[in-house]
């Protein structure tokens, strides 16, 4: 049954400090809403548990892309439409750019925000694997102040995170050191567009003289949250790209991922495909022999 809009409160404030003051006065009772690509769907289906919503849409303090010499910072309220069309993000963080371009349709990308994609906490979300391999830092703001932490420490479990009830995602900070790395991102879904991920793998690496000098791997829909594949990375770091290394890394990945059966796929399929995606990335590295 559709939710009745008359039973819901929605307010907007002119500035971020006003929003933070509202949510800090009654922590947990206000649900922030930005582009509504998740919450409005829940509302239409009559399964929105929130009663009081506060709009973040259009707040200038959340809607910025700051390009510095060493860092690019992206405000939590920036839409994927803006991210995908930003030249510096495309050159320095090409996988974030590419992921932004396959989140839903153009109309969804014009409303869906970076912070929304993160806070919604789906293990299948498109942006997190790219953010994880680029060692993004996440900045959270509340009336008490702001704090920064590695994005890899943000998610604690299925739809669980370190975000306190009075906090919002202010920005993501990305160090500009990946432009020359080898890059890999593949999403496997039911169809090419408008599909939710069955399994996805992101990777970035530096290979010199057939030796892996740096490698970051992250995956979607293989655990209760978006994850870095630390054990698989360790099986590859400092190693020559030999058949033995490949076999060891594949075994490590199959051991490390913890997918589930659900309506989109099975744990078995997800494991198998995740390992195949790793093979594909390693094949790409072997062919590219990317120099730092």
């Amino acid at each position: 049954m559709r939710g009745d809009p008359q039973n819901l409160e929605l307010i907007a404030a002119a500035s971020l400090p006003e929003v933070l003051a509202h949510i800090s006065a009654a922590p947990g009772s206000w649900t922030p809403i930005a582009g509504g690509t998740e919450l409005m769907v829940a509302h239409a289906a009559g399964r929105l548990s929130a009663q009081k919503l506060i709009s973040l849409w259009g707040l200038p303090e959340l809607d910025f892309i700051r390009v510095g010499d060493e860092t690019i910072s992206i405000g939590g309220g920036v839409t994927f439409g803006r991210i995908r069309s930003h030249a510096d993000i495309a050159s320095d963080f090409p996988l974030l750019s590419r992921a932004a371009g396959w989140i839903g349709s153009i109309a969804n990308q014009n409303r869906a925000t970076l912070a929304g994609n993160i806070v919604n906490g789906s293990p299948a979300a498109d942006a997190p694997p790219a953010l994880l391999i680029y060692d993004a830092e996440i900045e959270l703001a509340s009336q008490r102040g702001s704090r920064r932490l590695p994005y890899s420490d943000f998610h604690l479990g299925y739809k669980q995170s370190v975000l306190e009830p009075d906090e919002l995602v202010l920005a993501l900070h990305l160090r500009r050191r990946f432009a020359k790395h080898a890059q890999y991102l593949r999403k496997v879904g039911t169809r090419k567009a408008m599909a939710i991920t069955k399994v996805a793998l992101a990777g970035t690496a530096i290979v010199m003289n057939d030796t892996i000098h740096e490698i970051h791997l992250a995956a979607a829909s293989v655990a209760d949250r978006p994850v870095r594949l630390i054990a698989t990375e360790e099986a590859l770091l400092g190693k020559q790209l030999t058949r033995e290394t490949w076999r060891a890394a594949r075994a490590e990945l199959l051991n490390e991922v913890r997918p589930i059966d659900d309506i989109r796929s099975t744990a078995e399929y997800r494991k198998h495909v995740a390992a195949n995606l790793l093979d594909e990335f390693l094949t790409q590295l072997a062919h590219e022999g990317v120099q730092a």
Binding site: Q6, E9, L10, M40, A44, S105, R111, A193
Partner: protein, 164 residues
């Protein structure tokens, strides 16, 4: 609790408008119920099918996912704004000529998505058309006639611009 309502003002197809509505009411419902602009259709109601596509401050959006409060002071364009008096928009002409519309439910959304595409990419490739319309589903045409309509519209628009 007292029902939550408020005044929200915006422009629709260039006309200043004020509605009195619950702030969480969907832009789609405000268009259809409060303003009688029934050109915008509801398909899935969850942002998947694109039949409720409109432009909000020049951006293509699904009006089923926009709470009306977020349209405060916005500039909204709907399918009703495409034709000028009796003169059809080049996209509308092309959809008619190329068989781009059959049952018609997806057509307003297709027209708005295509308008948005041509505003940014006046001479789109087939890939760009496919991507630009990826969020708009049609169950009649098989899409090819729609893609051809967009190409034809780009040609008509190019000719009109050239003639000026």
């Amino acid at each position: 609790m007292t029902p939550c309502r408020g005044h929200v003002s915006f422009t629709i197809n260039g006309q200043q408008t004020v509605v009195d509505a619950p702030p969480m009411k969907r832009l789609l419902d405000v268009l259809r119920e409060d303003l009688g602009l029934t050109g915008t259709k509801e398909g899935c109601g969850e942002g998947e099918c694109g039949s409720c596509s409109v432009r909000l401050n020049g951006q293509l959006v699904n009006s089923c996912l926009v709470p009306i409060l977020q349209a405060s002071n916005a500039r909204i364009e709907t399918v009703e704004g495409l034709a000028i008096d009796a003169e059809l928009h080049p996209l509308q002409k092309a959809f008619l000529e190329c068989g781009g519309a059959q049952c018609g439910i997806c057509t307003p959304g297709m027209l708005m998505a295509a308008t948005h595409l041509l505003a940014h990419t006046p001479n789109p490739t087939m890939d760009e058309i496919r991507e630009g319309l990826a969020g708009n589903l049609c169950r009649c045409t098989g899409f090819i006639k729609i893609f051809e309509s967009v190409i034809a519209a780009a040609v008509i628009k190019g000719r009109e611009t050239h003639a000026r």
